[in-house]
Each structure stands twice: as C-alpha cells, then as structure tokens.
Symmetry: C2
Subunit: 580 residues, 2 copies
C-alpha cells in the first residue's frame, strides 16, 4: 500500500489526558482518536492492528473447534432478569429503553444470550460439547474510564462459551481453551504469563488469567522461577514464614507510643524490626432476616504481621466471612475495643470479638500490638500466655517477594502484568438460573456445565505497547504491526530512479503477501523516519539517490541502533529472511 491511498496522522505531543505510555503513543501515532470519555474512533492505522489481533484469535479459536457466531450489541433485558444480573449489576451496565419503553442493555458480555441459544439449540447429549464464540463490540460504563483502550467504555472483546455434559468434559473444554490461548499469545508475539486466579463464589480451581508482562501493569503476578507455579496476588498462597512458634521470652509490657499508630512508626520508635509487630484490621458481619433487617452483627479482628498486607479476597474465604463482610464502623470498634482505630489489638477487649490470625502471626512470639488505648502499644505478647489462641488461623495476607513457593520449589517472585485474557469454569451458574438442560442417554434432563473465555481485543493493543516501546515510539511484534515493512524513499517525486526502485520493492513485497507501506507523502527524511518510528513498523528500508549510485539501500530494524547497507539486488532476499 502507498501512503497516498491510506491515512496517516501523527502528533508531536500527546493530549494532556493521556496518562500511560500506550495511551500517549496510540494517540500520537494516530491509531485512535477520542470521541468521548472512554470512547474512541479506531483510525485506519489502529484498525489494522486490531484486525490482526482478531484474525489470530479467530484462527486459533477455530482450530480449537470453537464455532463463531455474532450476538447483538443491544439485548433485551428479559434474559438478564432471568439471571438477576439486570438488577444486580451496577451502573457499569448500560441500560436503555426503546420507543415502547421496554428495557434493553448494551452488552458487556453475553452469558445470558448464549445460554438462551444453548437451551434452545443443544437439546441432546449428542449436541455436546459445543463452544460458541463471537468478537463483538462491548460497552461497560466505567466510573472513571482512562488509559485509552486499556480501560475504555466501548471496546472489542472475544468471548467464548463452552457447553458440556459433565464436569470431566467441561474440564477438557477448559484445557482446550487454555491451550488455544497459549497459542494465541505466542502468535501475537507477546511476553505473557498464565496465572491461576480466584474463582469467587463458583469455587473450584479452574480460572486462569492471561497477563501481558509490563512494568506498568495494574496486576501483581506471583510466580516461582524454579517451577510452573503462577497465580495472581488474590489467589497466590502465603505459607507461614515461621514454621514453629518460639517460646515466650519477654514480659507483657504496656509501652507508650505517643502519636505512633502505624506498625512502621512503632517499630522505628522502639528500635525493633517491623517483623515483630502485628497489624489489626477490624471487619464485621451481619446476620439478617428475610426482610433484610440486621438481627445481629459480629465483629472480627484480623491480624497480619506489620510488614504484610491484608488480602481481602482471602479474608472472604474465612469461615464466617464467606457470605460477605464489611469494614467495621468506628462506633463498633469503640464499643468492642474501647479505643479508636490506630492502637487496636487482641488484648483487653470490651466485648467478644472473633480473632483471625494470619498463618505467620499465629506462630509469632514476643510480638507487639496495639494496647486498645490511645498512644500505647503492648510488647512481649505471646499466644496462650497473654491471650487465648486465635479463633481462626488462615492465609489472609498478600504474598510478598521472597516468600516460599507453595509447591516447595523455591521462593516466589513478583512481576507486573496487564490482564488481557481469562478462562473460567462456570459450572452450572448460568445453566441453573436459566434452566439450560440437555437430555442424557436415558432421556433425563441434565444441567449443562459451562465455561467462559474472554480476550480483550482492543486491550491487547494497549498492552502490547506497554510492553514494547522506547523513547521514539511503539515497537510492535511483527504479528501486530499495522505494516511489517515501510519503504522510505528520499525524493520519490524528484528522482525517477528512487521512484522506480521503491515501486519495484513495494510491488515485489506486496506480491509476496507482505504488509508493506511505501511512504510517498513527500515528507522530509527526518519527519518521515520519526513518523514510522513512532508508529513502530518493525522493518524500514530507505531508498535514496546517493545509495542507489552505489547500488545500495539501507535497512534498519525498529530495535536496531543503526542501519545496515544492503545491495539493491539483495534487499528482497534480505527482507524475506528477516520476515521469516
């Protein structure tokens, strides 16, 4: 393709609202153009990248036996009312009324619609397993859309849904999708990691996120460099850092710590390691009657070591907290601890409190915690001697770098990632709500076992840029680049020789099926090179009169520090080997 047949629009400066590098570079390279908050036009250059992502996904989904269809953007509310999501989902679900005042939604995903199709179309065990997918426009009315395509409101997603007769078969469907996702991200040329993720209320262990590795990623990925253990921080298991509780050696002492309410400040004041302190977090649960009135509330004290962070997802798995918890109110805290937050601890409670100790805290001795009195902590605290054993011992903290790997194969490392895919075993969550059954061999209706599998198509484009860029612009993997090769002729309109050589190379590459761009805009060399470095085309060939006089053209890869001189006669073969 020649630039004159296309549309290229680059900017010197990114707009002020672009916070992250991918957003800045996508705007500067003219891949997207803002239409409203979290809503973007995909400009010609950006659409080419998106289509490449879509095509790779489509090929691998088809190869894995999934069948493509297309479900509508505007969906009647009835199906969403069947599963209760019409009411349960927050304002991120865009609701709309048609001219007859009937309720509709703009689809954020399509579980309801595909389950409706399945319950009508997959009537017999002979129709199963089946995996349907579509690549479609989605809308989520994010409260604070930002980061360009990374957290937009309108975006493109591939969502697949598998239907199986039993859990064993559903497990196979899950594995097939997992393998397909691996092939997809390999082919996209991205550095990624699949990590086990929490399954929430559905339970089981079949949920994995596919994360593109990038320092700017929002998610913390936990992995063991010596094994294949990998999980996101919500799920990654934190083993006790102290295997056996030491004997008490210090007396229980109330110590003044005026104005020092954090573990860091207390440790510094007392000149002890932060690892000897314990942090108190107060939660509450409510027992309700059917009308929703609170009959009784229970207050919970969760204890993690001073250098650790509470993991709220893990806390939600503690028996007693599973059905939902909230943070306690200041009134509840004062009522139970006789003290305002900041100096709380498990000793000297006014009213009964359930105590949950992190596995490490449960094995600590001679530790320091709040005294339930403003400006005081207690040192030399020991379980059993100074207070009863905790009601519950559980893993309730975030893993930290250097923690032992749960598989015993070394210590854990942490890297940052951007979630771009998710495979999830749904079980009968939707089939039960919508009565999606098939008839088994005996003619008996059975609930279908489902899985859902998403890939954020447009998000991948942002993530690829977060992973691949430098101060000059985007560095695409070959598979994603809007064009793989750009031919930059110097003086295309002035020199017949340059024009002929450029056209010939362009036509030759195009005939080979290479995505090639010939920049015939007539820009000056500096501006032209800067544009293509910004846009991030992997391979550049510069053709000039001066070079041609010596029978040479110049090749430079996007990551190369300098150009390579190549004979005019050899450039075709040279590129073919580079592109292979």
């Amino acid at each position: 393709m020649k630039a004159s047949q296309f549309f290229i629009s680059t900017l010197k400066e990114a707009p002020a609202d672009a916070e992250v590098v991918s957003h800045k570079l996508m705007m500067r390279a003219g891949l997207i153009k803002r239409l409203g908050a979290g809503i973007y036009n995909y400009m010609p250059m950006g659409l080419r990248v998106i289509r490449k992502v879509e095509n790779i996904i489509r090929e691998e989904m088809n190869r894995a036996g999934a069948v493509e269809l297309l479900m509508p953007v505007v969906q009647p509310a009835e199906l969403w009312q069947e599963t209760g999501r019409f009411e349960k989902m927050g304002p991120e679900l865009l609701r709309v009324k048609d001219r007859h005042e009937r309720d509709f939604i703009i689809q954020p995903t399509s579980e309801e619609v595909i389950t409706d199709i399945a319950r009508q179309e997959l009537r017999s065990y002979r129709s199963l397993p089946k995996n349907f997918y579509h690549i479609q426009t989605k809308f989520r009315d994010e409260r604070r859309p930002r980061f360009g395509l990374m957290r937009g409101r309108e975006f493109t997603m591939k969502d697949a849904y598998s239907f199986d007769r039993d859990e064993a078969s559903a497990g196979k469907s899950y594995e097939q999708m997992y393998a397909a996702y691996q092939r997809i991200f390999e082919r996209l040329g991205l550095t990624y990691r699949a990590v086990a993720a929490d399954t929430g209320a559905i339970g089981g262990d079949r949920s994995h996120e596919f994360q593109v590795i990038a320092d700017t990623g929002e998610d913390a990925l936990i992995y063991c460099p010596n094994s294949d253990y990998a999980a996101n921080i919500e799920l990654a298991e934190a083993l006790p850092l102290i295997t056996t509780r030491g004997a008490a050696t210090k007396p229980l002492t109330k110590t003044p710590t005026p104005g020092k309410s954090t573990c860091e400040d207390v440790a510094a004041l007392l000149g002890v390691p932060l690892q000897t302190t314990v942090k108190s977090l107060v939660l509450a649960t409510d027992e309700k009657n059917e009308a929703g009135d609170v009959l009784k509330s229970t207050v919970w004290l969760l204890l993690v070591r001073g250098d650790h962070q509470l993991n709220e997802v893990k806390a939600g798995k503690v028996p007693g907290l599973k059905d939902g918890y909230r943070f306690a109110t200041v009134a509840e805290i004062e009522d139970h601890f006789g003290c305002k937050p900041g100096y709380l601890g498990p000793i000297g409670l006014k009213k009964p409190v359930k105590i949950v100790a992190d596995r490490t805290v449960a094995n600590m001795s001679d530790f320091i915690c709040g005294a339930n009195e403003i400006d005081f902590h207690i040192t030399g605290v020991n379980w059993g001697r100074d207070l009863p054993e905790p009601d519950v011992v559980a893993d309730i903290r975030n893993v930290v770098e250097g923690d032992p790997s749960p598989d015993g194969k070394g210590t854990l490392a942490i890297q940052r990632g951007i979630e771009v895919g998710h495979v999830f075993f749904l079980g009968t969550k939707y089939s039960k709500a919508m009565n999606a059954t098939y008839l088994d061999e005996t003619g008996k209706p059975q609930l279908m076992q489902m899985g859902c599998y998403g890939i954020g198509v447009t998000r991948i484009v942002g993530a690829a840029i977060e992973q691949g860029h430098d101060e000059r612009g985007i560095i695409w993997p070959d598979a994603l680049a809007p064009f793989r090769v750009v031919i930059c002729p110097i003086g295309y309109d002035r020199s017949a020789e340059v024009q002929t050589a450029a056209d010939q190379l362009h036509d030759q590459l195009q005939a080979q099926g290479v995505d090639v761009m010939l920049d015939n805009r007539g820009e000056r060399p500096g501006a032209m090179f800067a544009d293509w470095e910004l846009i991030g085309v992997p391979h550049r060939v510069v053709i000039s009169d001066r070079g041609l006089k010596e029978g040479k053209v110049e090749y430079q890869g996007r990551r190369d520090a300098q150009a390579t001189s190549v004979g005019v006669g050899e450039i075709g073969a040279f590129l073919t080997s580079k592109l292979a």
Copy 2:
C-alpha cells in the same frame, strides 16, 4: 470443514411471525435466530454469508481508494446536537443516558462523527479528497420491525463518507463510489439495478439507489428497456400523455353520481373510460411567524387523471409547496369547496384555492370531475371555457408502466426491487452545520463537499434470498453461499471406502481454498439432502458405496433438475471447472 466441527440447525417449519420468504428461509436454514423484535443472533451459518458480503464490499471499497476505520456504536449526543439531528430525528434514534446522565445515541449512521474527524484531521486542500468507511453495527428503533434482516432494528451497514474540496471533485468521488458499487453487486452475483433517486432538500441530481431485483421488493423501479434510463418511482419523470389539448366538444353538465365518490365508480356508472376522469386531492400550506404561530393557511387542489396516483415527493417540489405541506382538514375543505371530500372539483369554489394540474390533466378536454356537491359530478369540463387555466402545471403523478420514457427512447417498464445501497451527494449539509473546513491554496477556509454511501450488509443477505429461492429452500449465488460445495457421504461411519473418498475430496478442495463442507453428521440421505437444499449450497457431491463400486460419485448443482454421474477420478477437475 466437517459438520462435526460446525453448527447446523434447520427447522421443518418457519415461525409464525416470519412473513416473507427470506425471513422464513433464514430461520429455517438456521442462519439467524430471533433474540427480540427486530434483533437477531447471526448464527454460524448466517455469519459466514455476512462475512462474505463484508469481504467483497471491503475489497472493492479499498480498490476504490476508500480507507477503512471504525467509529463507535455508542456516540455522544453533542455532535448530534450540532447538526440538530438529536432533536429532529424521531424515536427511531435510540437515545441513552450514561451513569452521569449524559446523553448518548446508538448510531444509526455516522455523518456527525466522521465530519468531526474530518474537520480535525483534513485541515488542508492537500489532505483532500478523502473517503473513509466503516462496516459497523447500526441500530434503528423501527416502529414495526419485520421481514427478518430486511427491516431489523440492529443491523450491519457499510457507510462511507467522501470529503472533497469542490463540487467537481465531489462528483468524481461520487462516480468512483457508483462504479465500486457496480463492481460489488456484480461480484455478489445479484441481479440489480441502479436507479436515480430523489435528493430531497439537498437538491442536485446525484443520488442513486442500488436495488436488488425481486418480485417481493417494496420499491417500484422505473426503467426504459431500450436505454439506460432508470429511476425510482419518487423521481421518475412522468411526461404528459396528451401532447396537445383537444378542443371542447361537450357541454358542461352536472351529472348525478349517487354514492359514487371514486373515479373508478364514476367512470363505470357513466360508461366512460377512466382516462376521462380527474382526481382531486386537497393540500394545505401554513405561513408561520417566528414563534411558530400560523398566520395564514393556503388551500391547494392537486389534480391527476383518474387512473394516476399523486406522487407526494413530486408534489413537494411544486413552487409554494416546497417548504412543507400537509393534507387539508375536512373543515378547510368544506370551507373552501362547500362540500365534503368525495365529490370535489375545481369548479364552483367558495374561497380561493391554488390549482395544480398534472401535465396530463392540463392537456385534457371534455373531462369529468367532482361537482363540489354530494352525489354529483360534472362532465364535459374544459380548461379556459369552464374554469381558468391552472395556477401551476407540474409533474405530480407516479409514472405507470407504458408511459413514454423521458429520454424519448421508448416506453417505461416497472419492476420491483429491494434497496440495498445508496450513493448520495450531500454537498455542504453537514460540513456547514459542523463547520468542517479546509484551508485552500490561499489559506482561506472553505467548506468541504461531502458524499455518503451506504450498503445494508445484512439486508443484502435477505434480498439475495428474495431473489434466489425455490420451494426447497435458498439458492445462493456462489459468492454468498456459506459453503460452495457440500460433500454428502452415504454411510460415512459404516463404510471405510466412503469415508476415505469423502475425506480425500474434502481435503483436496480445502487445499485449493474452496469453502467445502463434509456432512459427517450421520443423517439419513433424505434429511441430509433436504438440509443442504434448504441451506442452498450451490454444489453437492454424493458419495456412496454403490456409486464407488462403479467408480462413480454424483454431482448436482442447486438449480439442476437431476444429478450427474462423475468418475471418482474426475470429480476434482469437474468441480474445479464448475467453480471457475
């Protein structure tokens, strides 16, 4: 592809709400599945057809120099307020509020958004001409969605928008799109006709509809079989059928016509040709002040020959009616004619009425019209003698079959069509409203000249079926068929020979890039054949043990009355020649 990797779902009966054959067959063949009124899931079989349409459109748009981008489905109302369409458009524009109560619309087209892009991106004459297009989901909240994909609410449309520096250049852009549309419909394999269409308020003569010819089409297409004259009925010019007015030969006579208020009844009663009668239609126009109060109303009497129909679009072009008209109220009619509707005419008016005669009526003599008295008509009416010449003589009627062609090359014929494409010169309608200017060579801002070019992607699928079907099902053109060849093995699971032969032919065709389906579902032959005739695959090969024993397979084209026996060794070459 093998059926086991795909999804095939046919129905014996079409659902009751399917009124037209394309809707019935699309439902029965499993191409679409209803989700709500006018909202359909595109099932795997249907999506394949849609993608083929999209790909042909995309290739020809690109070849014509248009550049693809993608504009959002959910669009902020602001731009639509700039052009006034947010307020002006009726309830077919789906309006939605986001979580912050800001107004958005679900796009029915994208003039506003593309003009917004153009005014920011196409700043100089050097950027022009430019033609952008996208293929995107559209929504129009039809009052009465019906006919499946033919008049759905959610549908897929290709819409292109050209930007030019002046009218001459815009004319070239228009011609390029017209030519591209011809190539598109040729390649789709559809019988179509491009007809000139009315340009409404924008004026000029550059508007053409692309109509797929089908007896069931909603539109009447007028054409001259001896020339290239073609227009839709709104535009097609009706010449006077009487070139010179004859002399008066009959006396003016009030004639009783009790209970006969239509021209047909009057002609029958009096035993005269319908062509001697004149039909009266009463319109009104209002003069308003700035506040919108009606200052003065004018009543208009429009006269067409008894066998003709008023053309409301043409009426709207009559001087004095151009700025909008309405049908007169009964009170206005009684006030001006002294009579209720049914027996109206131009003689003996109570108050002044503007009289508009169709070209043919203006040349009639000795004609019959209402007497402005219940149960009476007047015969022997002559212009000049019995009443003044009409205030206006104009073409205000629909053309009928056999009318002289406006180009003088014969008589007009009429056929029915389904509008699937439209090319339209917009001029500065949107660029003016949104101040989309470019800087010319002198640095002076100039309004861009625009054109818009739509193709109803999903509508084409319905129209193709209206054009191509028989009692057994759909008959696709090769270019649109979900699969071009279906291999139907008899006893695929029972006979190793059949399986081997079927697999080999499948693999061979697939390697050649042919869209081939091997039906390995294990259906009985009758049901299997019926399915593929319903789905409409153009080429079928039946492989059976009996045939193989004689070294033969059976080929049958979808339109063929019977099968052809072909040697196993020759079937590949045989199909290749059929598919060429």
